[in-house]
């Protein structure tokens, strides 16, 4: 019953990019001159030197009107107001928590930007300050929304809505933020029987779908009942599918995750992470997504 699988490493196959849409894009590397036309505005991933607009990261050039940006394939999370993020508390300070969100500086959650037990309109007292660790302590996970971005790039979060707050039992997967597709909603109850929060910062939270949505006490009580085995199987399968999608660099959104989940059903959960299975199911997902687009 003990299973030990060992293998020799296999060299990656070069992906044949023939005819793929990657060719249409204007790809640049650091130091490349994008344009010498001075009419453009400098965006992310570019800098100006001797009146030339030069790329500073490797990626595809994006032009919005006069603004030119280069989007790197993989970076830390760049906060934008309104983003949904999942983060982990790293530090409890006076009046605020420091939150790890894979940004270049730790994000902050002010005591005043969160719902405290007992309702929206409560004044934050000195007792609340001392009891901060009772609400959220180091290691706790939260879902939150980006409230503002400071000048140095640090992000300030808020959880002033019932859908945000402390996360309970479930599994976290970390992927590159660029793999998470921006959508109207990042909270999904998937029909396969579990829910996911696709944080814009690349933190993905998979958890059992709860019956009653609106919890009292602003989500500070965590359900400590064991999650039933059937739910665990779905969550583990979803987790491995998301890992597979991220390894094979396919954008993550509800449909791609669901398609991948369905493609994986013929395999055992633990086998999904084998390289050849990952490749197979992601390829199938890719194909179905293309068919969907028509």
């Amino acid at each position: 019953m003990a299973a030990v699988a060992m293998r020799l490493p296999v060299a990656r196959k070069a992906v044949a990019p023939s005819g793929s849409r990657g060719d249409e894009k204007h790809l640049v590397a650091p130091g490349d001159t994008i344009t010498t036309d001075t009419g453009y505005m400098r965006g992310h991933g570019t800098y100006v030197d001797e009146e030339k607009l030069i790329a500073s990261v490797a990626g595809a050039v994006e032009r919005v009107n006069k603004l030119v940006c280069v989007k790197a394939l993989k970076t830390r999370y760049n906060g934008e107001v309104g983003d949904i993020v999942v983060g982990r508390i790293t530090e409890v300070q006076q009046k605020r928590w420091k939150v790890e969100t894979n940004s270049r500086l730790d994000s902050v959650l002010l005591l005043s930007s969160m719902n405290l037990p007992g309702g929206e309109l409560r004044r934050r007292s000195a007792e609340d300050e001392l009891a901060m660790r009772d609400y959220l302590q180091e290691g706790d996970l939260i879902s939150a929304e980006v409230q503002s971005v400071f000048s140095d790039g640090a992000v300030s979060l808020h959880t002033r809505s019932l859908k945000y707050g402390k996360l309970g039992q479930g599994v976290l997967v970390q992927v590159s933020p660029s793999l998470v597709k921006r959508q109207k909603t990042h909270f999904h109850d998937l029909p396969c029987g579990a829910s996911v929060i696709l944080g814009n910062n690349g933190f993905i939270w998979i958890y059992p779908t709860t019956e009653q949505k609106d919890e009292e006490a602003g989500g500070f009580t965590t359900n400590l009942e064991p999650v039933p085995l059937s739910d665990r199987e779905v969550i583990s399968r979803l987790r491995n599918c998301i890992v597979a999608l991220a390894t094979q660099k396919l954008m993550l959104f509800d449909t791609s995750i669901l398609y991948c989940y369905e493609a994986s059903l013929s395999h055992q959960i633990k086998d999904i992470l084998k390289p050849e299975v990952m490749e197979e199911i992601v390829l199938e997902t890719r194909q179905r997504l293309l068919d969907l687009e028509g």
Partner: protein, 273 residues
């Protein structure tokens, strides 16, 4: 070439012949425990102290200090995991320069320091489960063990002595930790395990094992062994033998601790009250 007359012209490294002679000890009962002498609370400078001696030559002196402020705030949380957890237990293990005879690494040399550090880490792992560290948030407890004479089973004796010293210092603990050592005699036909080996037996042994037990909780807090000990069944047998040994040693340690407590009490209560 000028000769160095101040030094004896001999080989750089040498060992006394006794090392190679071996002792003519007859067969002994593998289950026999060497008589153990323990006394708690014998040093006045340390907050808690204990001395453990195994007949045959192992002598360990331990001192313990109660909660002190951790050196740097937050230093303990890095390894503590889970944020503002309990206190830290700092252990030290030293061999006196005269502790052993025969081939030993140069005193204070890198090899010796390394061995001491490993023993200190083993000591910490054996004691940590016994101490209620959660009761000492943001504080540091310290134990220092000094091996005066190594006559075998030194680490096991140090574990027992250190837990006595901590209890003597008034540190809150779940239980005492009792250490016991074993080794497997290659000469013996069935390769039986010997309890509390002496130094010579330890040196000859094919395999060695040190255990620590929390007797009241019936939890094993340290297992450290290596060598050609055979299949798991044989090691299992050693484990059983060793745990039994720990249980047999426990009353001795308990008595010595009680005696120390009474002595302390008597010293503080004025006579006739």
């Amino acid at each position: 070439m000028p000769l160095d007359h101040r030094r004896l012209q001999g080989p750089d490294e040498s060992q006394p012949p006794a090392l190679w002679a071996g002792e003519g000890s007859g067969p002994r009962d593998p289950c026999a425990l060497r008589p153990l002498f323990a006394r708690a609370g014998l040093l006045s400078q340390a907050e808690g102290s204990a001395y453990v001696e195994l007949s045959g030559g192992t002598k360990v002196l331990c001192a313990a200090w109660g909660p002190r402020e951790a050196a740097e705030p937050g230093g303990g949380t890095a390894g503590g995991g889970g944020g503002g957890g309990g206190g830290r237990l700092v252990c030290e293990f030293r061999r006196a320069p005269f502790s052993s005879r025969g081939a030993r690494p140069r005193p204070g040399g890198a090899a010796e320091r390394e061995a001491e550090r490993e023993a200190a880490a083993a000591l910490r792992e054996a004691l940590e489960p016994a101490v209620r560290l959660a009761r000492y948030p943001r504080a540091r407890l310290a134990v220092s063990a000094l091996l005066l004479q190594d006559g075998g089973s030194a680490l096991a004796a140090a574990v027992s002595a250190a837990s006595l010293a901590l209890a003597d210092a008034g540190v809150e603990m779940y239980d005492l930790a009792v250490g016991c050592a074993l080794c497997r005699d290659p000469g013996h036909p069935s390769g039986a395990w010997l309890l509390q080996p002496g130094e010579a037996e330890e040196r000859r042994a094919a395999a060695r094992l040190t255990l620590a037990l929390l007797p009241a909780l019936n939890q094993v807090s340290a297992v450290l062994g290596g060598g050609r000990g055979g299949d798991p069944e044989s090691w299992g047998e050693a484990l059983r033998l060793g745990l039994d040994g720990c249980h047999r040693l426990y009353p001795v340690l308990r008595q010595s601790l009680l005696r120390a407590v009474k002595r302390r009490d008597a010293a503080h209560t004025p006579p006739g009250s």
